[in-house]
Symmetry: C2
Subunit: 214 residues, 2 copies
């Protein structure tokens, strides 16, 4: 059965994005530090069409997290652009350019209806206004026998975690402090809904914590 | 030179103690879950005079964290008992019984003066009312060529971290959520003052993150 898999980078003090997120600074203040480890990896750079990079202990974690994924669910905040109703004249098309790195259906949870947006390379953004469970149903159907990847932002991840809908989670724990920003576990409570630590890959720059139901 | 070493157990959502700390529930609600891994270890049980327990990957981490320590600094909240001035008639003598597991000088940071308290086994509690730096000076002097261990509670650890006075830190990261309680990094800001990840020991129950200045 199709699983919902969350992978997210988090600081030692629990933040997955900094304050003051904007088009110019998508991850907020200091948020880039959470992803520096990934941009040093050849496997991650290749997904973005970038050359160079390292092969190290994180490579397999990144490759695993992108393998066997047939659809993605994300929040409006990760899709980005601007708050409120969509701008019809100058429609925001995501952060990722004409050929986004998903290459499968992506379901964007939003309060504001919008027609599906077909991009190059097999990525179609479908905008879902009926909540997280409806988005997950659509994504699982689209994924077929593959899994569904859960993107951010923090609030979307929190909703899926609190509802017990996440089947697997990789937290890329970065040994740095942000001090302020958006916390992964804010409002999630004290229940991991059966998720347990099943593996750890430790590197000098990032510790990958793998959680799943046994 | 004598170093200040903090070892502390923290939940995945960043808490080092639960809410509603009391004499009956020293670690607060859910706080026991942060220390279950330690109570399963023979090396930790022996320090408390308890029999049995396991030898596993955490053993060396615990042994290292107690080795080469000549003095301890802790906050009033870790010493415990009750808030406010000391009760002269029924003086609180700490959580640890007549023979506490320190066996060296312990400096308790408090707003309320009190005479030193000599216990069995080489532990003397000295109460310091002149702030964290004075407590650290006294502890380093008492430790001689050994190191100083920094205990909790959270607020004491935060003060030393924010002041950049911690030289080494072992965070025992427990893959559980507390949801509420006291956060290790609350108010510390975005600066680890040169502390970097220098090693990780991963076990199924707890991930030991070792940070130090290079």
């Amino acid at each position: 059965m199709s699983k919902l898999r969350l992978r997210i980078s988090m600081s030692l003090d629990g933040f997955v994005a900094g304050v003051e997120q904007s088009v110019a600074q998508p991850m907020g203040k200091g948020g880039d530090r959470l992803h520096a480890w990934a941009f040093q990896l050849a496997a991650f750079r290749a997904l973005l069409g970038l050359e160079g990079g390292e092969v190290n202990e994180s490579t397999q974690v990144v490759e695993e997290s992108f393998a066997h994924v047939g659809a993605t669910v994300m929040g409006r905040n990760m899709f980005g652009g601007h708050p409120g109703p969509w701008n019809a004249e100058k429609p925001w098309k995501g952060w990722w350019g004409a050929n986004p790195p998903f290459h499968h259906p992506v379901f964007v949870i939003t309060h504001h209806p919008r027609e599906p947006l077909e991009m190059e390379g097999g990525t179609t953004f479908t905008f879902v206004t009926q909540g997280i469970e409806r988005a997950l149903d659509l994504a699982k159907h689209a994924a077929g026998n593959k899994d569904v990847s859960l993107g951010g932002g923090a609030k979307t991840a929190q909703q899926f975690l609190a509802a017990g809908l996440v089947d697997q989670m990789v937290i890329n724990l970065v040994p740095t402090l942000l001090g302020t920003g958006e916390r992964l576990f804010d409002g999630v409570g004290d229940d991991l809904h059966g998720l347990e630590l099943v593996g750890t890959v430790a590197t000098p720059r990032v510790i990958h914590l793998k959680l799943a139901r046994r």
